[in-house]
Amino acid sequence: MTRGEGRPEPRVQAPHRGARSEAQPSEGNRTKLRHNRVELALHSLRAGEGGALLLLHGLGERSPARVPLELARWPGPIFALDFTGHGESTVPRGGGYTAEVLMGDVDAALRHLGSATLVGRGIGAYIALLSAGARPKLVRGAVLRDGPGLAGGSARPGTPQIPMPDPNAIAPPDPFALVELAADVRPPDYATSFARQATHLSGLERPISVCTLERPDWLRAIVEEPGVEACEVEEALAVYASRASQESR
C-alpha cells in the first residue's frame, strides 16, 4: 500500500489481528510486529470505535498494563508499543540505539494500525515528534508528555564519550538503550524540521501538542513553530478525537 498520498485513512477497528504480513497472530492482547531483526510487542489496552491512540513509553519504561487515567476519555481503541529493548520486545545484543531506530519501531506499529494519534512519554514524546514529521499522513496528532528521556543528551554533543552499560544489569530494559538514548544529541533545528514537516504535510491544524512541564532545548524550539500548541493533555486528546471521528465518518 502506498502511503502519504492523501487518500482517506483506513478506519481502525480493534482489536487488530495480523492485518499485515509482518504481524504475527496476537497472543492475548499482544501482537508481535517485526522491525528488521527485532520483534516488537504491540499491546491492545482497550477496544473502541474510531481512530486509534498509540502510547509510547519513556526511556527504561514499558507499556502500561491499563489505560492511564488521563487518557480514559479517548473514544477509540488504545494500543501501547514496547520499544526495542523494552518490555516484551526483543533485547538485541551489543546496543547501537538511535532515536531514528525507535522511529522505525513506531512505523512498524503504524503500518499495522493504519494510522494513530500518538501519546509519548519522555523519549516517547521525542519519537512521537519524529514520527509525526516522518509519517505526516499516518500520525493523526502527537501528544508530548513528561517522562524519562525527554531531554536526551543536549543540543550539541558534549565531550566525546563511549557509553558503557552496567554489566550486571538485568534486561529489559536493555542497559545499552539506557546509556545510549540518555545521551543522544537533539539539536533544536533538527527537531523543528520534523515539526515543520508535520505542519506542512499532515493536513492537521495543530499536529503537535506539547503537554510537558519540562522544556529541554529541542522542545522549547518546537513550541515556537506554527502547528505546535502547548496545552493540557485532555484538550489535545479532545481535538484529535474529534478530528478522528470526522475522518472515520
Binding site: R37, G94, Q161, P187
Partner: protein, 302 residues
C-alpha cells in the same frame, strides 16, 4: 569444480585471525606481522572490511609493526547485529583495542574508520599515541544553501524512503552473482579501483553459496541515512586533538569520498598536525598508492 584462486600483486592475507566478543557481538580480528612487534591499529571505512588493507598492512608489518585490524559489526566476517550506530562502532573498536594492549598505541583509520577512531581518541586519549587519518577528516556534507521549504520536501522523501526500507530490511538478502558480477557491482562504489583488485576483494568480502557469490555485508545496512549529527561538531574539536595527527587527503572526488580539501581543513587543524594532499588519488588513498601512504605513515610512526 576447482576453486578459482584470485591473487593481486602485493596483496597478502593476514598472518593470524581471531574473534573478539564485543558485548555479545562477535568481531573478526586480523593481524599481520610478528606478535612481538609494537602494535598499530587499522580501521576500515563504511562498507569495507579489513581485507581491503591486504596491500597496505603488509608494508607496515614488513617494517616491524604488529598490524591489527578488524571487520566492523555487520561487515566482512563479523556478526550481523540488530542495531548499528557510531557509538556501537566506538565500543567495538575499544573492545578490539583492549584485546591487543592497554598501553597507548597508534591508530590509522580510513574514511568512517578514521572518524570513529578519532572520536575514540578524544574519549580515551591515554590509549592512543598517534593518529593517521586516511581521507576521513570531517568535510562539508550538508547543503546549507537549501531554503527551509525545500529542505522540508527533501526530508520528507528521505524519511519515507528510509522507513520503507526499514520495513523491508529484515527480509533482505544480498543478490547472488558470479565473481565478475560482484566485482562489477562494487566497481560502482569504487570506480577508480582496478578490476583485478575488485575481483580479489570478492574472494574475501563475499562468500560462495550454491547459487553464486554473495557479499557478506549485512543486507540490512545501506548508504545514506540521516540523523542529527553535524560534521562541524567534530571539526570544531580538531584544534584540541590530543595526539600527533597526520591527515592524508585524496583530492579526486568520487562516489564514496568526503570531499574534504586542505583549504577547508587546515584552519581547524592543530598547529603541529601534518596535512598531505594527494592530487592524483581518490578516496581510497591506501589502495591506489599503498607504498606512498605506507612511507608517510611509517615516517609519522617512527
Amino acid at each position: 569444480m576447482s576453486e578459482e584462486v584470485v591473487t593481486y600483486p602485493g596483496a597478502r592475507r593476514p598472518d593470524r585471525s581471531r574473534r573478539v566478543a564485543s558485548h555479545g557481538v562477535g568481531i573478526s580480528v586480523y593481524e599481520w606481522g610478528s606478535p612481538e612487534s609494537p602494535p598499530v591499529l587499522l580501521a576500515h571505512g563504511g562498507f569495507d572490511f579489513a581485507g581491503t588493507f591486504d596491500t597496505f598492512a603488509p608494508l607496515l608489518a614488513d617494517a616491524g609493526w604488529r598490524v591489527v585490524s578488524w571487520d566492523h559489526r555487520g561487515h566482512g566476517d563479523s556478526d550481523h547485529a540488530a542495531l548499528y550506530s557510531w557509538q556501537a562502532d566506538l565500543r567495538d573498536a575499544l573492545a578490539v583495542m583492549d584485546s591487543v594492549s592497554h598501553e597507548p598505541m597508534p591508530i590509522v583509520g580510513h574514511s568512517k574508520g578514521g572518524g570513529v577512531c578519532m572520536q575514540l581518541t578524544e574519549a580515551r586519549p591515554h590509549r592512543v599515541s598517534r593518529f593517521a587519518n586516511l581521507d576521513g577528516m570531517p568535510g562539508k556534507w550538508r547543503h546549507p544553501d537549501v531554503a527551509d521549504h525545500e529542505r522540508t520536501k527533501m526530508l520528507d522523501s528521505e524519511l519515507s524512503n528510509w522507513l520503507d526500507w526499514r520495513a523491508r530490511a529484515g527480509t533482505l538478502a544480498r543478490k547472488p552473482g558470479t565473481l565478475d558480477e560482484l566485482a562489477e557491482r562494487r566497481g560502482r562504489m569504487n570506480p577508480r579501483l582496478s578490476r583485478e583488485w575488485l575481483r580479489y576483494l570478492v574472494t574475501i568480502g563475499a562468500r560462495r553459496d550454491a547459487d553464486g557469490w554473495r557479499w557478506k555485508i549485512d543486507p540490512s545496512m545501506r548508504f545514506g541515512g540521516f540523523g542529527p549529527w553535524k560534521p562541524d561538531w567534530a571539526l570544531e574539536r580538531m584544534r584540541g586533538f590530543p595526539v600527533p595527527l597526520l591527515a592524508i587527503l585524496g583530492l579526486i572526488e568520487e562516489e564514496m569520498g568526503w570531499g574534504t580539501t586542505p583549504e577547508y581543513l587546515v584552519p581547524y587543524m592543530p598547529r603541529d598536525a601534518r596535512v598531505v594532499a594527494f592530487e592524483d588519488s581518490g578516496h581510497f588513498v591506501h589502495i591506489e598508492h599503498p607504498r606512498r601512504v605506507a612511507d608517510l605513515v611509517l615516517e609519522f610512526l617512527s
